[in-house]
Symmetry: C2
Subunit: 213 residues, 2 copies
């Protein structure tokens, strides 16, 4: 597993950090030269990073105008939620049983960790869980699309209201879902996911209300 340093990739993840930490606010322009200076590189690698982030849906590039941090409204985020769940449902239909032992263990461990996680940790575990579920299908198309959905949702995760009650509820849903998948009760899994989508949207909207008005 070689993970050679790829300059544009490093720059991209730094820009993501800046978005998550509100140093770059949605709608604002990302000026190539500014970033080039802070990284001590030329503008080339910055441009590449911006292209990558455009693919992930975090940046919007307008020819000859510049690159902007993409702005998502409530409706957009709910739609992303919905597409994510739809992809998960489709991928569950493609599962081949028996599921590989090592992947089962990985997901078991995520659920375990969720019990004792704090808010921030829970967000990360939550995303991990859904991604691992999707990867169970070993389907490149779904994985590919899923990764593009994830980025905006992760960047805006800070808006999700993770109260102890919400986390408790969410955890229960995850347990149910995982149990249904393991026992090959796919219709139940589908129903749980559809419920999870609704409650997820609700938590999302609650969080947005709280923090922006």
């Amino acid at each position: 597993m070689r993970e050679k340093t790829h300059l544009p990739k490093m720059i991209a993840s730094q820009i993501v950090m800046d978005i998550v930490n509100n140093k770059l606010v949605p709608g604002s322009k990302v000026i190539e030269e500014k970033y080039a200076n802070t990284f001590g590189t030329s503008r080339g690698p910055i441009r590449e990073a911006l292209y990558m982030l455009e693919t992930e849906g975090l940046i919007e590039r307008i020819p000859k105008r510049g690159a902007f941090v993409k702005k998502y409204n409530k409706q957009d985020l709910c739609d992303l939620f919905e597409v994510r769940i739809a992809l998960e449902i489709m991928s569950i239909r493609r599962l081949k049983y028996p599921l590989p032992e090592n992947k089962i263990n990985e997901i078991d461990r995520i659920i375990e960790a969720m019990y004792t996680a704090n808010q921030e940790e829970y967000s990360i575990l939550n995303n991990d869980f859904h991604y691992k579920i999707l990867c169970l299908s070993e389907n490149e198309i779904f994985k590919n699309f899923y990764s593009r959905l994830g980025a905006p949702l992760i960047a805006l995760q800070k808006f999700v209201l993770e109260t102890p009650e919400n986390i408790q509820h969410s955890l229960q849903e995850h347990q149910l879902l995982w149990k249904a998948i393991k026992e090959r009760k796919l219709n139940i899994a589908k129903a749980v996911l559809e419920d999870h989508m609704e409650s997820g949207k609700k938590r999302f909207l609650m969080g947005i209300e709280k923090k922006t008005g």
Copy 2:
């Protein structure tokens, strides 16, 4: 409506042409300098074009190795079909009635043109139709994802077996779907789309069998 020449965009569409016309076969490498020479530009714009096509799912870039024409197998194409239909179903649920008059007319005209289209024309009209249906929802998220699905499917459209009988069948499905949408019978529309997905897949696979052995 200003459509200024954007070099990378032009190059990208030329590369798409080359893929469609089999000058670039799936799996082969796209060498930057080669294309730079044929266009009389430097490598910069070529790289941008390759990034664009990566976003559209036609090219896969591997750092320090190069850009390759992405290879899709049967299963991949069926999955893309399925995701496309799922997006259409989701977007139909978001329609706001009454539908705008001008868009209704546009789609009416596509259906009309389908009656007298030859095979090649029909493929294009078919894609147009589905895209216009999706655009009815005026939902940027769906449009965005849809455009990424379309490219690989269009590039491989040549595999779809468009016999007169198949076209006839497909046309009927489109009429049914459009009628259901206009009359706001969304459950029917959904059912028709699900059927259309199955028969579309079948035509696809028939075409692949025929042309590749």
